[in-house]
């Protein structure tokens, strides 16, 4: 097993070695040339020649344009040269070539998909990582995510995010991810501008959105611009793709558990385009095939659908609509079904007052609902909960001059939560209907941000956001005796608030600063500071995110979570920006993080404040990142050292965790190493691999055992003082691309193996006194074997 890892890494590094020397052309020949080099430039996807593409060697000041067959000829002396290849509609490529004699070369250029996009130009400059003022911002194209080995035939955006430095997750069966030591709920996931409350299908095995509908993914770990707010740790902005204004096209993919199809094109050419996608699981059918009655009597299914409409009203204004729907239902061979779903709508109007002043205004609606249906005879019930998140935004951008922009705007949202309503399903049930009162709040923000280039070597981005939060009635609230821990028994007064009356208000300024100093064209040093407030919290008394978790708004007892982050980074690019390196360090302090009393009762509790504790936290880390962007071999290696610590000290022992001492957060994993390799063996076969390693997450070992009514029970009095075994995993995939000249049918077969050496990575370690064995520790591994899968993707 170790041998496989080492061999794989050796292969990866030896390929890297060859690459750094440049692409060798010709056999070793005596003399220094110049030698005649024949070349051909083709489209990366279609393999069709690119007529008129330009090749240029700057150091020699020679170049040529490709003929009608995409061919060119150049006389080049022996040695290393930088060949720049460009063509309209394609991304420029810089290739290092090592001329040894006469020879030939085929160059493939990637289409610049954003070239024709009128409204949003998302093309990223090759040296964007150096030139942007902000540190801690990761932008990944869907193209690079699609290159990663899929799990059960599906490319997964959220799993890809966890491969980046500073991001980790609790394990296989968890949908959440943690950014720089922050909690799961501290990430704002924006799908086309609408917040997504549950980003996963099937308890975290899949992301809840169709990757074919996504154009780009931007993760803000730090350097968060002032136009974003509402969550304490990070922003994950998923930008939708758009339907083409000229031609119709589509994609379909069949995987082991699900299938998806998407397509789009012009409804009115150059005026109105549509893009739609649907993804459906057929896991129910698969479960039925398994012999285990626990499993074939179970049901697990999900689907999601998206639609994107773009309408160009005039040169100056456009309207976009995006809609999203997802649904999950899971039932284990029993009487309990879990169901959840998201529903988002965003309507955006963009208007250019002139070529310097732009408005983007939007109406956003996001809904999330979760239900448990229980059919067990006498106590059958339905438990529903729901979040309504509705907002309006007006964002303005004024370009003072090139490299000097002003962004400002106002954003407001109305939040409503049904924390839980319980109903008997029929007359047989002894359950009484019960409703936890609705929660309502108004969260608003106003911001201004100035992005300015101060000469060539200094960039500054600074801004401030003011947030105002009002927790609204109608609501019955409770006052408690201050001399005792909060408990239903210590209520001293019951206060009723009328509808829309402000019960509690919070507000504050959130300064954001990013500063860049460049020393050369390829080197920069960046500093960042940001402060974020969060008014909505995930109440989850489990080690990882679970579908039973509920959301809670800040009220007079639950103060907003606040994160303050300081970061610094050093960025250096090599080989004409094809190799990016960076080292970033951060320190983050967290206030009012939520914790729970021992044995907290969180479901359907109208006095949930009596079960919650407030703590503080700090996180710090160092992230090292090396990325290689050119072809045929690309990939990255990232290493993160980080800590995320918590402390809860209350006035009473029942309000204190770990005896008031600092303890690691559930997702504190100090060492985290990821290596991603993407290698094009030839135009038709691509190999990719991911290796990840991380320290095992913290767990609590018992400090004693005791005998109680015949059972041996573990006794715990500390928190997270031990760790599960280290996690590591290697995934590999081969993609076979059967390209034909016929554009209407191009297919990819993707063969992938997840966890190729079948490591039984521990998801958890627990202690149990099972009959027939002594009380002892057990390890639960979610995936105990290598997991192969096959999928077929086709474009039409």
């Amino acid at each position: 097993m170790i041998r496989i890892i080492i061999t794989s890494l050796i292969i990866a590094f030896s390929i890297l070695q060859i690459e750094a020397q440049g692409r060798i052309i010709g056999l070793e020949t005596s003399g220094n040339g110049p030698f005649l080099i024949k070349g051909k430039i083709v489209d990366d996807e279609t393999r069709e020649p690119i007529i008129g593409a330009n090749v240029f060697i700057e150091s020699l000041q020679i170049g040529e344009s490709a003929d009608e067959e995409g061919k060119f000829e150049l006389s080049i002396p022996k040695g290393l040269h930088q060949l720049r290849v460009s063509s309209i509609g394609y991304e420029e490529d810089n290739i290092l070539i090592d001329i040894r004699g006469r020879g030939s070369i085929t160059i493939r250029l990637m289409q610049n998909i954003n070239q024709l996009d009128e409204i949003v130009v998302t093309a990223v400059d090759p040296d964007a990582n150096i030139r942007n003022a902000a540190a801690g911002v990761e932008k990944i194209s869907m193209k690079s995510i699609e290159g990663l080995p899929p799990f059960v035939g599906e490319v997964d955006v959220l799993k890809s995010i966890t491969l980046l430095p500073g991001v980790n997750s609790a394990g296989e069966a968890s949908s959440g991810f943690n950014v720089r030591g922050g909690g799961y709920d501290q990430n704002l996931i924006l799908l086309g501008g609408a917040p997504l409350y549950n980003p996963s299908h099937l308890f975290g095995f899949f992301s809840a959105f169709n990757s074919d509908m996504i154009n780009s993914v931007t993760l803000f770990k730090g350097g968060i611009p002032s136009n974003y707010g509402g969550r304490a740790s990070s922003i994950l902005d998923l930008d939708y793709a758009k339907g083409d204004m000229q031609n119709w096209s589509g994609k379909a993919s069949v995987g082991t558990i699900s299938a998806k199809i998407s397509g789009g094109g012009p409804i009115i050419k150059d005026k109105l385009s549509v893009l739609g996608g649907v993804r459906v699981s057929y896991s129910n059918y698969l479960l039925g095939l398994i012999k285990d009655p626990n499993i074939n009597n179970s049901a697990a299914q999900f689907y999601d659908g998206n639609i994107v409409l773009n309408y160009n009203i005039s040169d100056k204004s456009s309207i976009d609509y995006t809609g999203y729907l997802s649904s999950d239902a899971f039932n284990f061979a029993s009487d309990t079904t879990f169901a959840w779903g998201n529903q988002n709508h965003v309507l955006t109007w963009k208007y250019a007052f002139n070529d310097k002043f732009f408005l983007k205004s939007s109406i956003v609606s996001s809904q999330y609902n979760f239900s448990i249906l229980n059919n067990s005879g006498f106590s059958n019930f339905t438990l529903d909960s729901k979040i309504w998140d509705r907002g309006i935004n007006a964002d303005l951008k004024y370009i003072i001059k090139e490299g000097n922009e002003l962004l400002f705007g106002i954003q407001s949202k109305y939040l409503k939560i049904n924390p839980g309503s319980l109903k008997p399903q029929n007359g047989e049930s002894s359950i009484n209907p019960f409703e936890v009162p609705l929660e309502k709040a108004l969260e608003s923000g106003a911001y201004i941000q100035h992005d300015v280039e101060l000469g060539k070597w200094v960039g500054l981005s600074y801004g401030i956001r003011y947030v105002d939060y009002r927790y609204l009635g109608s609501k019955t609230t409770y006052l408690y005796d201050e001399l005792f821990p909060l408990s239903p028994e210590t209520v001293t007064e019951v206060v009723n608030y009328e509808s829309n009356k402000v019960i509690q208000q919070y507000g504050g300024f959130e300064p954001r600063v990013s500063l860049r100093f460049s020393f050369t064209e390829n080197t920069s040093l960046k500093f960042g500071y940001n402060r974020m407030n969060q008014f909505i919290h995930l109440i989850s008394n489990t080690a990882t995110i679970a579908p039973t978790d509920i959301w809670k708004l800040s009220d007079q007892y639950i103060k907003p979570q606040t994160a303050t982050q300081y970061s610094a980074g050093f960025f250096q690019n090599f080989a004409n920006n094809t190799i990016e390196t960076s080292i970033e360090a951060y320190y983050k302090s967290l206030d009012n993080v939520l914790e729970y009393k021992d044995g907290a009762d969180l479901i359907l509790n109208p006095q949930i404040e009596t079960e919650l504790l407030s703590g503080s936290g700090e996180a710090y880390g160092l992230e090292v990142y090396v990325k290689k962007k050119s072809k045929p071999m690309s990939g990255w290696i990232s290493y993160t050292y980080s800590r995320s610590l918590r402390q809860v000290v209350g006035p009473y022992p029942s309000e204190t965790i770990n005896n008031g001492l600092v303890y690691p957060a559930n997702y504190d994993k100090p060492h985290d190493l990821t290596a991603v390799l993407d290698y094009e063996i030839n135009p038709f076969v691509k190999y990719s691999a991911i290796f990840t390693y991380s320290t095992g997450r913290p767990v609590t070992f018992p400090s004693a055992k005791f005998s109680f009514f015949g059972d041996d029970v573990a006794y715990y009095d500390s928190r997270n003082q031990n760790r599960i075994l280290d996690y590591h995993r290697l995934d590999m995939s081969l993609t076979f691309n059967f390209n034909t000249k016929k554009k209407w049918l191009r297919g990819d077969w993707v063969l992938s193996v997840y966890n190729i050496y079948g490591r039984k990575n521990a998801f958890s370690i627990f202690f149990d006194d099972l009959p027939g064995s002594p009380p002892q520790a057990y390890k639960l591994a979610v995936l105990g074997t290598a997991f192969p899968s096959l999928s077929y993707n086709v474009e039409f």
Partner: protein, 348 residues
Amino acid sequence: MIRNILPILVLTVVALNACIDPVDINTTEEKKLLVVEGFISTKPGPHTFKLSKSAKYGSIFVGFSQKEENATIFIKDDLGKQVFLDELSPGLYQTPKGYQAEVGRTYTLIINSKSGQYISLPEKLEPVPIIKKLEARFKKFPSVIPEIFKSGIEIYSTFDDPADSQNFMFWDARGTFIMNTRPDLFTYRDGEGKIISAPKDCCARCFFEERKAEAEFRIYSDSKTNGNENRVLAAYIPDDGARFDEKYLIRIEQYSLSRKAFQFYNLLNEQLSISGDIFDPPPAGTNGNIVNITNPEQQVIGFFHASDYYSDSIYIEKSAILEANADKLVPEDCRVLGGDVNTPSYWH
């Protein structure tokens, strides 16, 4: 309701790839805390209390839980009445025979031992509803191999929940059954390991008594069912091939609890149900309402409560086992296994 399904849920999703294995982990810490096991009720005494010390978590040979001997224990009520307990055997203490707690009174437990002085918070004795009906239902769990399955009998208690108060309860169960063994097939191994046949003449039919046969505490809160007629699972008797040889008598004891006592048992159930899945609660200290006044920093495990008691019993005929597990063949004198050949006085 949600908790037990997750390990298998995770299994389901990845189609049988998940696995649970024992791992060798040495815990280093050893907390020696006082463990108090016992409560008083309106049932005629004696009421038994066990005092012991917690030990290192490990195999039975590693951590040995010591009895707390020679302690003075007494129970005091809100009228100032005190009842002393006698030490029956090391660590085992009893109230006088016939001692009964009373509804509406408040009780406190006081312990003086060599490790310190302990006192419980006062516990008020609340009334418990009566059992209107007991019902037995056959329960079979799904299994991979159809011939090998787990099954047993669920006992449901029906009662009227009082609408004017918050009610918390727990159930204890005591079973009596007849087991038929085969002493005529008795064998033993001699010094060289050879199996020697040594048929015994007696005894093939014994009565056995047992306390509830499951690890979980059966508890109830009326927070969602206040004022209704309830039918609640009060006990589960697994069919092990021996219990239902003839018929099984189960006595269900229905006890009232205070809110705090309910929370303690609930916490204990949570801790017992930790199974490594995503719904696992964080590990927590199972401390109750007993305080060490000599050293208040030191935690005490256990909860002292005073409960009202109501009891009823039913016979479960062999025919109630709709799908029987293979009979267990026990080649031994049933008395050696703890059985009694005499029919108990309550058996009919």
